[in-house]
């Protein structure tokens, strides 16, 4: 395993060298922009202001988690391609290292970086949330983090596996398509058309269940009933306007079902990764 961790550490250093931090800074900028209305917009009520800010934190955590998964796909897709184009792979494979060890190291390194990034995002969210007296729903947060971590593992594994047979761009694109496929599969399975239904059933075996986010419910922040009684004027109908009330429905999470989905995603990740190892082991490494 020493060589695997060595490769993983090398991947970690490589990601930092790729000026990925600039990408993160851009992402943080994006998140701040997204949260600007909640931070600066005057809602007229202190209670509503706080709630909107708390919701901005959980929303930012949701976006951040998606960005971490996207990063994992991007890094996984370029795992082999970058080594081939830089021709560094020749000197590595001229050493007594097995190809599955190399691929496993790459996978672990990418996952480590993406999960660490997710952790940093969580830390920031906790800090800001604490300042806003946010009421974190730890069971929802836990399942959301597990979903994110497994999604990072799944989609980076798929991207790495695809990168053993195709170029970085196509591998990344296919991994992204697979990430969006579960919705289509559900649609096809539920279709009354027999052909669509049959193809949906077939795709259901190939396409992993994928990622479902519950981050928006990680902070319990219901809109206060008197939130719109601004400057003493009563809301015409009284209470929360319907469109605001619908923004944060109480989540109905079936934890057993979620755990089963997590397990299935992990299983798919392992299958795709093993396929990638088999392909890389049998593949010739021809460099121009």
């Amino acid at each position: 395993m020493g060589r695997v961790f060595l490769i993983a550490r090398n991947v970690f250093r490589g990601i930092l060298h790729r000026r990925i931090l600039y990408l993160w800074i851009a992402a943080i900028g994006l998140l701040i922009l997204r949260s600007l209305p909640a931070i600066f917009f005057n809602f007229g009520s202190e209670a509503l202001q706080t709630v909107m800010r708390q919701r901005a934190v959980s929303g930012a955590l949701d976006t951040w988690s998606t960005l971490c998964i996207a990063l994992a796909i991007f890094m996984g897709a370029s795992a082999i391609g970058s080594e081939l184009s830089a021709k560094t792979i020749v000197t590595v494979f001229a050493r007594p290292i097995r190809r599955w060890e190399f691929l496993l190291g790459k996978w672990l390194g990418i996952q480590a970086f993406a999960v660490l990034s997710l952790g940093l995002g969580l830390l920031v969210a906790f800090t800001v949330g604490s300042l806003l007296d946010a009421d974190f729903q730890y069971n929802i947060l836990g399942i959301s983090l597990a979903q994110s971590a497994i999604a990072i593992s799944l989609y980076s594994g798929i991207a790495i596996a695809l990168s053993t047979v195709t170029g970085s761009g196509l591998a990344g694109a296919l991994a992204v398509i697979l990430a969006f496929m579960p919705g289509l599969v559900t649609y096809l399975v539920d279709s009354s058309n027999s052909t669509a239904h049959a193809s949906g059933l077939v795709l259901d075996y190939v396409v992993p269940p994928g990622y479902t986010s519950h981050y928006s419910a990680t902070i319990h922040a219901p809109i206060p009933p008197d939130a719109f009684n601004i400057r003493g004027r009563e809301n015409r109908r009284g209470g929360v306007p319907p469109f605001m009330a619908q923004q944060a429905p109480e989540p109905d999470i079936d934890y057993n079902d979620e755990s089963w989905t997590l397990l299935k995603n992990a299983g798919y990740a392992a299958i795709f990764f093993v396929l990638g190892c088999i392909i890389l082991t049998r593949r010739e490494l021809r460099l121009a």
């Binding site: 250093r13 560094t88 020749v90 494979f93 007594p96 290292i97 010739e284």
Partner: protein
Amino acid sequence: MADAVIEINELTKSYRRGLRRRPVFAVQKLNMQVAPASIVAFVGPNGAGKTTTIQTLLGLLKPDSGSVRLFGENTHTALLSRVGYQPEVFHTYPFYTANEVLRYYGKLSGMSSTQLDQAIPALLDRMGLIDAADRKAGTFSKGMNQRLGLAQALLHDPELLILDEPTSGLDPEGRRLVLEIIREEKAKGRTVFLSSHILSDVERTCDEVFMIRKGEVVYNEQLSAFAGQNQQWEVEVLGWNAAAREGLLQMNPTFLMEAEERAVLLCSGESKRALVRLLTDLPVEIGSVQRHRGATLEDVYMKFVGRG
């Protein structure tokens, strides 16, 4: 050949090219055996199949047919711990310092931290890179990069060194250093398989040469055969005449050239002095005495490999 370090039998390797995926043969029925503790040169023009052969030796490519054996075994991952490889252009991770590059490759080769702590400074010093030990490899010049590439190949003290153009891009000092190191490795009992375009380096360093053209070995010879030819001397005689010819009959000289008023005689190192003494007693003048330039490796290369 018993206990050959490299054994290549009837190796054929082709690539598919174009829309019709027609096979283009990079190597065809290549045969080669490399004895232990020898320096063997692998010479040929660009596209002759040298790199394909080397990459097949390392297991990066799979043969279409034929076999490749290292240390008497079919190439497999574990065997590579006994091999050091320097590619033609050493590409490494630019974010590592020279020290870290060697540490990384050393660990991949199974070396311990203690072994690396001892080996790396000595090797960097030997390569003239000790002052650049903490410099990022991405900032290295081409020559420094080549030396770092050789260092990583030597690091784990391999029994077989496969060097692809190790002196290309080096200044004269660097070239001399690399050739010295290659000779030292041989003295330590290591086998060196050297792919090179620089024939003078090959002549100075190697024991045996394989010339390859269009994927086939077209010439194979021990380089000692070339060294022997340089032991002969050419004596130029001016004012050549019949009397001089008669006077030299007893020595039965070999004429490289004989014309009116001028002749060039060929003699061995032992008979050179006697010939010169005899000529001074004859009514002729000695124009010059110089070492005979026999067929060089370059002549052979041009004959077997060159386009001419």
